[in-house]
Amino acid sequence: MGITKRFGALVANDSISLELARGEVLALLGENGAGKSTLVSILFGHYVADEGTITAFGEPLAPGDPAAALAAGIGMVHQHFTLADNLTVLDNILIGTEPLWQPFSRRRAARAKVRETAARFGLAVETRRKVSELSVGERQRVEILKALYRGARALILDEPTAVLTPQESRDLFATLRQLVAEGLSIIFISHKLDEVLAVSDRIAVLRHGRLVALRAVAGATKAELAELMVGRKVVMPTRERGALGAPVLQVRGVHARDAHGGVLLDDVDVSVRSGEIVAIAGVAGNGQHALAQLLSGTLAPDRGTVELLGRRLSATPRDWVAARVARVPEDRHAIGVIGDLTVWENAISEHLRTAAFTRAGFVRRSASRMHANSIVHRFDVRLSGIDVPARSLSGGNMQKLILGRALSVGASATPTLIVADHPTWGLDIGALAYVHQCLLDAASAGAAVLLISEDLDEIFALADAIAVMFHGRLSEARPAKTWTLSEIGLAMAGGGEAGSDEVTRAA
């Protein structure tokens, strides 16, 4: 009721009042930074509200105490799972539920109770297996089971589909419907409109910390929700397909292992032509990161060749930058920018030791700042000045800075190759549309684009050809229009090989 939360001058939640009814799925919809996570964190006791109170099942809920929230029957499934990999499913569920002075854990009774709970809600998981052996979807079921085991009657799911394949998402939705049918209440956080429409009963839209709309799902449309979420009409850029040029990037038979000998890339072949956008789909953790590193100059292949315009490049970022490869890394905070350095310093970091920015060992300050200003201007980076630390930029503006730095290479504005690893991850729709436009423009101007993404909407909106990655192996890239959604989902789960051969022959 009337929840307000401030962080300094920022009002993350501005007197939000919401009610969750028994047996319903309430979706919390909003862009990044709209205050969804803050709100549920207050609900679950991670934060304390500056104003307002929470009532759970008729009782006032003590603020700032997750244990109280658990006791009141509120369960939470975080976006990043809180499971111990080296323990079994049962142990993970039991952690924290047993009193410390009890000498032996009552496993038999606990196992029976877990099985009973699992059966009742249709959450099939083998309790003896180690969590490290489970798939992402199974892990999520364990998280849900954990909450239910503790007697949760209201369940909060924070972006639960972010890590799932389309099929796994569908399974999750079926589970959620079953939970609701059993009388549970669910808060479902998402910024994906299709999912929200598919699974929820009511939708609460947050924008800039305010509750801007609360409505039943019946009669709501995607366009309307998007507009509520962003606060204005959003026009998504569309692809105008041009002619493809000569091959720019050619990766042949690349193998790579990590420091412990685990396979990262297994016989990967891919080629991208000038003007072409090739998308790599796949569930997180199947080798996409290694592929992005390989094509950013930060990972050396054990076997195989990587050629740019017929020339082999060494595994040093400098070579790749010099060859005019625009690299957009997945983790913009940890890799993309150096947060403690200023915006202008980050704008030139890739080209520091070139004549343009260093003379006789000294940084050419005014030239550097001019370059930074031109990026800020051209790429519409919103900031209070180029002397602020890059850390202080919002995700969208940080990404624009990284894109701007990558795309403003040398005299020619068009890079030979763009390697974009999850370029729109966590961005709001406005920034997302902007990033898409940049990639499309670059492709039209003749750049080869390799896009790595888990967002299938994004892939279908941008890609000319799609390949799917699973366990370090990359399927053959096929024209985007020959793929169906369920086919991609199947391939993402590792079952696509046989099917894809057939379709290729048919096409």
């Binding site: 300094g8 930060t298 970022p317 940890a334 947060g339 403690d340 350095l341 970091s349 030791r353």
Partner: protein, 349 residues
């Protein structure tokens, strides 16, 4: 009670933090002074007079500050690049020993040639002592805190061995001390009847040079980038390992130079107690200065003043000189807390 990050860290708070830290330290340490039975106000007054109450007091403080400024700079450059050099003490001794060794090598060369050779030898010795830990860090991810810290003991024992053996002064009546450097290599005094020497000017010039390198050169950019986020720096194509190694050379060379200047300006020869922990104090000074090369000068003078003042205070009343070490150590802790509070606010709820 919980901590919340401040949306913006104000410049005022950052500047105020060291002063607040020092004030808190003096209040806390007054309890110890009172415990030892001395009047707190009187004791601190004596300390202040001993540090800055007369021309002589000021000259003593500045003499003490000279090596501290240089070790403070040595630590600052290393910490800037997140190379945690705890070994400035050992590097200082290595530098001092190398300086005396070259100075007494019997080179029949003009002083104008020998002097730079002596300085270069000291810097090379200090750098050499740090390059090993730096290589181990970049190649095998060996924690440099451990290696540099332990190398201090090795360096000190090596100095002890040399002073009792090959480099022992036969005229020292059995004391373990080295032969003195030739008189013409001594640094000139800045004032009559004081010990302040031109090493102070060198230290101040070095602070300015380090500040310029840090702020305006491409190497300074690389150092700060690697220190702030080595992975992002590597992604941007900066040569992270080379930067760490170059930083190690610079930091070790500065610490070695501190040893040479201490020998040439004050002591004249090497003894095992020539440095009452200048290398370790350099860490405190660098932190007090928030790794700002110009701030190092102020922080070094503060620490030197406490050390000198406490000496004279303990001569006048019954407060042990150890209070100086306590004040310096407490000021480091207070500074760490203060710089955290400048970035976070505490909320009671």
């Amino acid at each position: 009670m919980r901590l919340e990050a401040r949306a913006e860290v104000s410049r005022t708070l950052q500047v105020a933090a060291p002063f607040a830290a020092i004030a808190v330290t003096l209040v806390v340490c007054s309890l110890l002074v009172a415990w030892s039975g001395a009047p707190v106000g009187g004791a601190y007054r004596l300390l202040l007079e001993g540090a800055a109450g007369s021309t002589f007091a000021i000259s003593e403080t500045l003499t003490r500050a000279t090596p501290l400024i240089i070790t403070g700079l040595a630590v600052t450059v290393a910490f800037r690049a997140k190379l945690y050099n705890i070994g400035a003490e050992g590097q200082l001794y290595a530098g001092a020993l190398a300086a005396v060794g070259v100075a007494n090598a019997g080179l029949s060369l003009p002083t104008a040639v020998v002097f730079p050779l002596v300085v270069a030898a000291a810097m090379a010795a200090g750098a050499l002592l740090l390059i090993g830990p730096a290589l181990l860090k970049t190649r095998f991810h060996v924690d440099e805190v451990v290696t540099t810290l332990l190398l201090n003991f090795i360096a000190l024992l090596f100095v002890s061995m040399m002073l009792d053996g090959p480099m022992k002064d036969p005229m020292a009546m059995g004391w373990p001390q080295s032969v003195a450097i030739p008189e013409e290599l001594e640094l000139g005094k800045l004032a009559e009847r004081s010990r302040v020497h031109s090493g102070l000017l060198i230290a101040l010039a070095l602070a300015v040079v380090v500040w310029i390198v840090d702020r305006f050169t491409a190497f300074g950019f690389e150092m700060r980038a690697v220190g702030a986020n080595a992975r992002a720096a590597a992604f941007a194509g900066l040569p992270v390992q080379a930067v760490v190694l170059k930083t190690a050379l610079l930091s070790g060379a500065l610490a070695g130079l501190a040893g040479a200047i201490e020998v040439m300006g004050r002591a004249g020869y090497v003894t095992l107690d020539m440095s009452p922990g200048y290398g370790y104090s350099g860490i405190v000074i660098a932190m007090l200065a928030q790794l700002n090369p110009l701030g190092v000068v102020a922080a070094a003078i503060f620490v030197a003043g406490i050390l000198v003042g406490a000496d004279s205070m303990s001569r006048a009343i019954a407060v042990p000189t150890y209070i100086a070490d306590v004040i310096v150590a407490a000021s480091l802790i207070a500074m760490l807390v203060a710089s955290m509070l400048a970035r976070y606010r505490i909320r009671f709820k």
